[in-house]
Symmetry: D2
Subunit: 266 residues, 4 copies
């Protein structure tokens, strides 16, 4: 990688954006060339990230920023309302989008794939950039082919609104694909406390714990004849996504079309 | 302990009774003096337990067996329908009952305590003889005084009928006694899958997993500011009760009255 | 599978052999046709396994037993001193060997592969028939490609002689193949208690715990930026091998040549 | 607690000091009255902590700061070289010291206890303010009285210099006090990889893992007849000490003399 990859970052003053800026500044093979942040416009992107100034002043408009600075990749972790438009803007500028978001429809992804192919560039949209979490999901799906008795336990901070978590549901979907369809447990089992047996998904159960001090944890437990297999992922902080984003930035340079899901790059 | 403690065993051919016979025969400070088993009557108690003959032939009637053999302690793990009568019979013979059972009413225990005191002997009734499980419950109760955010996860074999387990409910009762009364979780939280958040007990949650290959497991998880504390007990087999029964046999020699709960001997 | 697979078992009165007999008798698609056991010769194989009589009387000589009874598969979990000869005998009779053993040399396996191919039958030799343990090893090897910081913790019964366990060393070998070669930990780290940091294998560490009440457990822990991934296998009893042996018996019918390692059938 | 407790903080610009300032400012029953920080002198203590200004300007000298501002409690998490002098200074001003430090000698603690008693105030020195970690140690010590087969596994960040951790050694000391003296494991056991069985402490073993992404974790595992008991504490961040410091500030108001060890307040 003789030449540095030129990276632009949106939401550079937000929680994820600041981590992205930090990660880009710390990797000698990457170069920060533009930063966009509505409320932080005019400030130095390094300072927005809690570091010393880096010389890149945050702009307020992505289109303008990409016109004025030649970028190879745009990293975008902004909110659902603007992320689609940002992705289109990037592709129009020939800039490869690396996007962390969950709300895209299959139709939108197909459209963006078409735009990427026209522009002859790659793109990446991923709901999850955590390498460990993706491995956990892949392993769980594989194990379920052999050990169909399975339960999922996920733990998140106690102010989370929805249960189960998106990762737990995604894991359950992957497990269900290869698992022999059985309804686990005793057919006559009785819940003395309603809900004790968890939420049912396709014949197996998901349990959601909510405790202060926890960022994100998930354990998938398989039970077999005289044995159990457990696959557990603990995420301690938002920064755990950055190694995945870093790999995404580098891999997106090497293919054409829009990839949905970081697991397809592994 | 210069003299051996003389032990009688009921249900000597049953699953727990056989373990008791084995344990008594293996401890040089104990002596098996009588065994009772309706369907195994006439057979050697050692052979019923899968060992070589020990010279004690199983009788069919407890009253008769205790008349013919001087015993210090009766160990009884029989079924609810006969255990109360067996306990009374033992006390009437001046034999200290060590009983594994859950179904006694407070009134029955009080009556048995009176009978023990009249006979000037000790007695022990315990739903749980597992030292590790009792420590888990004691520790969980203590931790809840300092860390009120708690969830219980219990796992049992997949043919178990009731959820949560008796141990989980007992643990929850003990936790509730010293825990600050708070309703955990986000007040606006939403279960996408009904039951995902588990069964509620006094503001905290219990989750029941049912998997083949598991005998009995429980984990109590506490979440605090930047930390979590977990107390976990795994029981691999019925024989895990025997060290507790052994301690019970020895301790019941030293006090008067009926003790309910093995934890009071720890 | 319209016709039953005819199974012969050696060491039918030994610890593993009895489990094999039980498993064969319980599977309607398998038929026990011969049993060999030196010390149990003349007894019914069902009774040797602690079940009711099954009509197959244990023989003392494998060669004779296979001459008198047409078998499809021989399951052999006997001791290193006889297992090679047994395997050759089976192949000479056109009987597919399914062997649980660790001591074969690469040369022996190659020879047996040749014999199988000449006889146009399949064979299977596996040090480990536990599906969960094999999945654990495969997942650990895969994860190490992405998360090179890894430690292995294995726990076995407290009377085990060697540390680390064979499974831990096998896991370490598989991890080392795809893992970036780094020496983990602080180069200046100091052991206040010698051995605290465990045994080193190719730059990472293995820790062996020995505790009563445990059969076999292993956890592989990966640490990354803000996250950790754990893969854990708990084996509760010898019987945990049987689902793997059962699969082995069925799969060995469908290929030619000797397969070494159950993982190649998954 | 009708009146606020007046709190002074040393090292207010350091890693722990900033957390203390934050905690004090967020608790309505506490009032920050003074802050000391050599390199941050002249700056607002709230700003040093990354919050908005709170009106307390950091001073450079503790003696002067305590002369000018009436404080009830001094919280000191500074370095070994100054912490003893700071503690003496506080007591001389009639200010109760709450100190996080490990290096005090028994003689120093006795002297400080004498000074506290002369001044008729309380004081607290604690190597560990983590409530969860202290509960873990207390539970481990108690469990070891009943289950003498035990191993400790501790995990810290991969740049830590010493192994085992101070917490692991402290836990081992507490376990050793009540545990039956046995040397665990098979007397003939053999380490194929030197160090695999961990570091020995009084007949049991300690295992130290070092992985990136981990702050501080410890698990104490007990093995018994057919069961295991695990007590695990995971610390995610430095801020995990603050609930303990908060309790310390409030409890130190109610007694006289120097207490060494937060566990004595639980």
């Amino acid at each position: 990688m003789s030449e540095k990859i030129k990276v632009a970052v949106t939401g550079a003053g937000g929680r994820m954006g600041r981590e992205v800026v930090k990660m880009v500044l710390e990797d000698a093979s990457l170069e920060l060339v533009a930063a966009v942040d509505r409320s932080g416009a005019g400030q130095d992107a390094g300072e927005l990230a809690g570091l010393k100034p880096c010389g890149i002043i945050a702009a307020s408009d992505l289109d303008l920023a990409l016109s004025e600075n030649k970028a190879d990749v745009l990293v975008d972790f902004t909110v659902p309302s603007v992320v689609y438009a940002n992705t289109v803007t990037a592709i129009r500028h020939g800039v490869r989008p690396v996007v962390g978001a969950t709300g895209f429809t299959p139709q939108q992804i197909e459209e963006l794939d078409g735009l990427c192919r026209e522009a002859n560039i790659g793109g990446l949209i991923a709901p999850n950039f955590s390498i460990g979490a993706i491995l956990m999901m892949q392993f769980a799906a594989k194990a379920a082919e052999y050990l169909p008795h399975v339960e999922i336990i996920e733990t998140h901070g106690d102010q989370k609104l929805d249960a189960p978590s998106g990762t737990a549901i995604k894991t359950a979907e992957l497990i269900a694909q290869g698992r022999e369809k059985i309804k686990q447990g005793n057919p006559d089992e009785e819940e003395i406390l309603p809900g004790a047996r968890g939420g049912e998904y396709d014949g197996f159960r998901i349990h959601s714990l909510r405790l202060p001090g926890v960022f994100a944890q998930q354990e998938v437990v398989f039970g077999g004849y005289g044995q159990s297999l457990k696959i557990r992922h603990d995420s301690y902080e938002r920064a755990g996504y950055m190694p995945g984003v870093n790999i995404g930035i580098k891999k997106v340079m090497d293919y054409t079309g829009m990839v949905y899901g970081f697991e397809h790059l592994m």
